[in-house]
Symmetry: C2
Subunit: 348 residues, 2 copies
Amino acid sequence: QRQQLLKIKEEYDIGILGPNTVMGVINTANGLNTTFERDVMPRKGNIAVISQSGGVGACLLDWACFYKIGISKFAFMGDKIDVDDVDMLRYLGRDKETKVICLYMEGVKNGRKFIEEARKTVEKKPIIALKGGIVQESAHRAKSHTASMAGSNEVFEAALKKAGIIRVENMEDLMNAALALSKQPPMLGDNVAIVSNVGGPAILAADAVARNNLKLARLSGETKGAIERLYPGVDATNPIDMIADARADRYRKVLDLVLTDNNVDGVLVINMLKSCFFEPEDAKAILEVAAKHPDKPIVDVPAGGEDFELVYKVIGESSIPLYNLPEKGVKALKILRLYGKIIGNIKV
Amino acid sequence: QRQQLLKIKEEYDIGILGPNTVMGVINTANGLNTTFERDVMPRKGNIAVISQSGGVGACLLDWACFYKIGISKFAFMGDKIDVDDVDMLRYLGRDKETKVICLYMEGVKNGRKFIEEARKTVEKKPIIALKGGIVQESAHRAKSHTASMAGSNEVFEAALKKAGIIRVENMEDLMNAALALSKQPPMLGDNVAIVSNVGGPAILAADAVARNNLKLARLSGETKGAIERLYPGVDATNPIDMIADARADRYRKVLDLVLTDNNVDGVLVINMLKSCFFEPEDAKAILEVAAKHPDKPIVDVPAGGEDFELVYKVIGESSIPLYNLPEKGVKALKILRLYGKIIGNIKV
């Protein structure tokens, strides 16, 4: 079969994806969809996904469709007798519809070429990778599964670092990271400000900042003073608890002051609805302020289930990525910081 | 105010929760609900939640309502001038409707007594804790927020260990852990078997097993032989990929063999719908087999978004906890293992 395919390739001078690619490719721009399932057309967007595994690819596709994540291209790699990861990176690096590239890989065949191509690509757009087959037993399984040598986790880690690829730990983190990178600029320093209408979740976010090797921004005296003059009773020490009666206007003013502060590199906003005065429509204020500060990343956390859904209806389609837990919002900022460091290193 | 409340307490010989408890208490058994929100009555169940913070409590309540997690009692602690954590543990330890106790805490006032009461409680039912205010900055905020000294993270960690309390890192992990403990028995050894209808997600689960300090079970020759005789083409090396055409009957037979194997202490099942033959109704087979092996924990992972929802409709209300990612299913088994160790140590 292999020989026959390669013969066809030569005869017609075409590229061949697969074989054994399970579901082939999706291109949301022109509506091409070779998958054989009903209702698996993700919405148009700027995230490309390449999966070596059919099962993980199917899961990521299901995730993207269900959580309305915008996709540019989706490819199931299969046995790679012709088109391989390097070709894919080269293509997606030039693809105008793609802003972020997600990879699920169990191994890579032409390591050096892959690293070279990745380094060139990440100058223009970030690459995020999830690697399966880390422990010996699963590596053995990966070998029989996609016929790729897994190699040791340490070697892989070093290679990804060299290539400037951001590594994540699971499929949800992959999608959440892609969401952040597709919507927000890289973070150019470590200092995070937390602006919230509740105390406890802001404290959990602050803990997560430390766990993710970021720093809690120390606001300038000017910023702190301005906030406290505007809202007596609010202690504007980061994490800033604006108190449960904060609505659009307070969010707008405080966020503007915080984003203007040179000591702040990125902002995590928490807006809870339950036991607070905040209404979903108030979230539009975050969009307005963010538009004034396009160079600093901002993520929003309407923590919980229903709260998340209600705020999602108002600003879910906007350029502000939303997360349902403080810790996930912090992880998103960390990813934006990592990409900031990667571009910084390339430029130097 | 404080004095007045204490005077009332003495006069009428009643316990006082709070003040400043934000939303008070919920008792799903008798329908008592002092929260002032619309539509925040979680469904009846056996998980109790005690939150020191109103914001985190509100978020957990929102989570429980939205994700249909069964709650027995829900309490917002407030300033604790009378009823405190120790009283709460004593009460919930005896409460017939409560099987699992969840705590969100920023600090504890009477440390030694708390540890003593917790140790007594965990002999009967597990306690899971999420601690906020770990880093210096957030600890400062926690102090002004709930007037509790946070203490160092290490001291807290040691105290929880001594008390036999299981610690988690965020609100989602707290709820996911509670779900596992409320539905499944503790795991009495480290050996996990993975039974899946796809390769990639099973490989990610195997990686997570190692990350969580569990072991991939080595199936006995007998089990392996029996599976491979039944299904030629299936390589029954753990993680077991039963191949994409596996339906109820294959799940039933393979799971039964695996759960019978003495080398297996707990099982993670993966059933994807996309690009597989599996139908949501097939998930009932998992219930049947689990009922035959009540002493070994089993969790199910219909990975993704829509796939999860479809399977949830069929077995979501059953005694099998469901997770939308392989890694979350593995974390659930780890929690069941931790509780197994805690009871084991108490008995020795």
